[in-house]
């Protein structure tokens, strides 16, 4: 359960300051599947980073599972990211020197999972995105869609309660994009993982159950999606 109250984020650049978020409030329950939409520069990524504990708000309250996290230190945030949150990025962000399976193992090496279970756990994650026959490929030897599926496997390998995806289909053709969305949808429906994604494409947003519209750093519209895409 995520409760954001009056979250503000101000970037200081020299004597100029930019308000990326100006009092965003939002409640997200477990098992939701949410899309965040809005014009470029409206603060979607900033909001995602705060929800994902990669960044702290300038002011406001952020409760994650009833725990105030807006003031935690870097290492405490790192633990939450490791145990509770999985990230999927528009540009995949895989380590180019590592094979797919090694990339998927990455969150495990920073976790409490013992090293002799890493491979098996990562293998299961690779299977769940249908890439069990691409284990030893480097990212450069995979298609964009495959790379994003590796990224999904990495995001879910630690059994997070939330997966955050910032424009996960932005770099993909529509077919691969849909494939990705179906995987995310499956995770949400079968495992009850909360999914929050940012997208510019309305037909991608249709996979989710709820769409939040953001403009100028604040939530301007919050709508339920009836009969979403399957």
């Amino acid at each position: 359960m995520i409760v954001l109250k009056d979250i503000k984020k101000r970037y200081q650049m020299g004597d100029q300051s930019i308000d990326a978020l100006r009092g965003a409030s939002l409640v997200i329950k477990e098992g939701e599947f949410i899309s965040i939409m809005g014009p470029s520069g409206s603060g979607k990524s900033t909001l995602m980073n705060i929800i994902g504990c990669l960044d702290r708000p300038t002011s406001g309250s952020y409760k994650f599972d009833n725990k105030e996290v807006s003031q935690l230190n870097d290492d405490e945030l790192a633990s939450i990211r490791n145990e509770k949150i999985g990230f999927i990025f528009q540009s995949f962000n895989l380590l180019p020197r590592f094979t797919a399976i090694k990339n998927v193992e990455l969150p495990l090496i920073y976790s409490r999972v013992s090293s002799n279970e890493w491979h098996k756990t990562a293998l299961d994650a690779m299977k769940s995105v249908g890439l069990e026959n691409r284990l030893n490929h480097k990212p450069s030897e995979l298609s964009g869609g495959q790379q994003q599926r590796v990224a999904i496997a990495r995001a879910l390998v630690n059994n997070p309660s939330i997966i955050l995806a910032d424009e996960p289909t932005g770099n993909l053709d529509s077919k691969s994009g849909e494939q990705i969305m179906k995987i995310l949808q499956g995770l949400n429906e079968d495992k009850g993982v909360t999914i929050i994604l940012v997208t510019h494409e309305p037909n991608i947003a249709q996979f989710s159950k709820r769409i939040i519209h953001i403009k100028d750093g604040a939530v301007i519209k919050d709508e339920k999606v009836t009969n979403n895409r399957k």
Partner: protein
């Protein structure tokens, strides 16, 4: 993050840039090699001096005419003393001292040595029989100068190896007559090989009774009196005693100098220890330069891998995970470089002397190996900590955005 995995990650990163890693290591290798090599040369010189001096006899006190104030300095070369040291002085201190075992009067000079039509100038040492034992010399054939020879001023001569070889070749020299200066001396003994000790060639000399030498050089001034102490613990007491005895005999003037072998030894040791330290220090500078190379490369590496750091942080790496990962890289570079340097340095210390046209004593010491090892590890930590810290403090979002 578990330490095995950290090691693996660090090593993989180093292996991914083999040439760069090797070049960086080269800086440390050169530094450590230099430390080991130079220290082993310094240490070799120290040990050489030590064995040479003990080879000249230990427990020795040497009385030379003339006063030199600095204690523990080298023997004064000038014999221009106000008051001479005499044969009787030597007899006197030997008779009256309770700490001395022997006191050998020595007259030193150069004279022309001739046999048949061969002749050459040679160092002549006039002495008493005990000289043999004090200087740890050995007779090869015949006999040494005896007390009777000394007492009767007999014209007998004992030849060093070189003198014998050059004058007689393979011919038997014992019993032959040679001309020293104007007098004829009978060869009674040939010395065993002793070799060069601290620049003095003990093979290229001849020995005659001190009394005969006095006559030969027309002098009663001794070059020195070599004394040996019964018990090395009483060295200082013996010095005081000799002083007292001689001052009395020399109308209350201290116009002589007493030098102990251990004084010379400790002076030499000090000089060479300082020299070794200076050499190690100079070599240490190149090790520091190697360390700067590591720092430089690590900074480049952190910059190149900014995105990797961002990704690791996004999936849960903590400060110390990143810090340790980069620190292990720099320490690995310096320690592996250090070990290779130790092997090359120690190896060349042993091998290089064989290929040199002159004698270079070297001695690889455990302390220099340990010092080089820990110093190189310390260099890795010292110069690695800044880049590693920089990496660990990177902001995850900015790192993920870094191109």
């Amino acid at each position: 993050m578990n330490i095995n995995e950290t090691f693996k990650v660090s090593l993989e990163a180093l292996l991914a840039n083999k040439i760069r890693s090797s070049l960086t290591m080269l800086g440390v290798i050169i530094g450590v090699t230099a430390v080991i090599l130079l220290v082993s040369v310094g240490e070799g010189a120290r040990l050489y001096i030590e064995t040479e001096l003990t080879g000249l006899g230990s427990n020795l006190l040497i009385v030379t005419p003339g006063k030199v104030d600095t204690r523990g300095s080298f023997r004064p070369h000038s014999v221009g003393a106000i008051r001479k040291l005499s044969y009787d002085d030597a007899l006197f201190i030997k008779r009256r001292s309770q700490y001395l075992k022997e006191a050998v009067p020595v007259i030193l000079g150069t004279a022309n040595l001739k046999y048949k039509n061969l002749s050459r100038d040679i160092t002549v040492i006039g002495l008493t029989p005990e000289y043999l034992q004090l200087r740890i010399l050995k007779i090869e054939s015949g006999s040494f100068v005896t007390q009777v020879d000394v007492d009767t001023k007999k014209k007998v001569i004992v030849l060093g190896r070189t003198a014998k070889r050059e004058l007689f070749g393979n011919e038997n020299a014992l019993g032959k007559l040679v001309t020293v200066g104007e007098s004829r001396y009978r060869v009674v003994g040939i010395m065993s090989k002793k070799g060069v000790s601290l620049g003095f060639d003990f093979d290229d000399v001849v020995f005659i009774p001190v009394t005969s030498a006095g006559e030969l050089f027309d002098t009663d001034k001794l070059f020195e009196i070599i004394t040996s102490v019964k018990n090395p613990e009483n060295l200082d007491k013996a010095i005081a005693e000799i002083k007292e005895l001689l001052i009395k005999r020399h109308s209350n003037k201290e116009d002589f100098t007493i030098t102990s072998q251990s004084d010379i030894l400790s002076t030499m040791q000090t000089i060479l220890t300082i020299m070794t330290g200076v050499l190690a220090g100079i070599a240490g500078i190149s090790l520091v330069v190697g360390g700067i190379g590591i720092m430089n490369i690590m900074l480049v590496s952190v910059r190149e891998r900014t995105r990797e750091i961002g990704i690791r942080k996004a999936v849960g790496a903590k400060h110390k995970d990143i810090l340790i990962q980069f620190l292990i890289e720099s320490i690995t570079l310096s320690v592996v470089g250090g070990i290779i340097g130790i092997i090359i340095g120690a190896g060349s210390s042993v091998v290089i002397p064989f290929f040199l046209p002159f004698y270079l004593p070297t001695e690889v010491t455990l302390w220099s190996v340990l010092l080089a090892f820990f110093f190189s590890a310390a260099v890795g930590i010292f110069f690695g900590i800044y880049p590693a810290r920089k990496a660990s403090l990177l902001d995850p979002i900015e790192s993920l955005r870094y191109e």
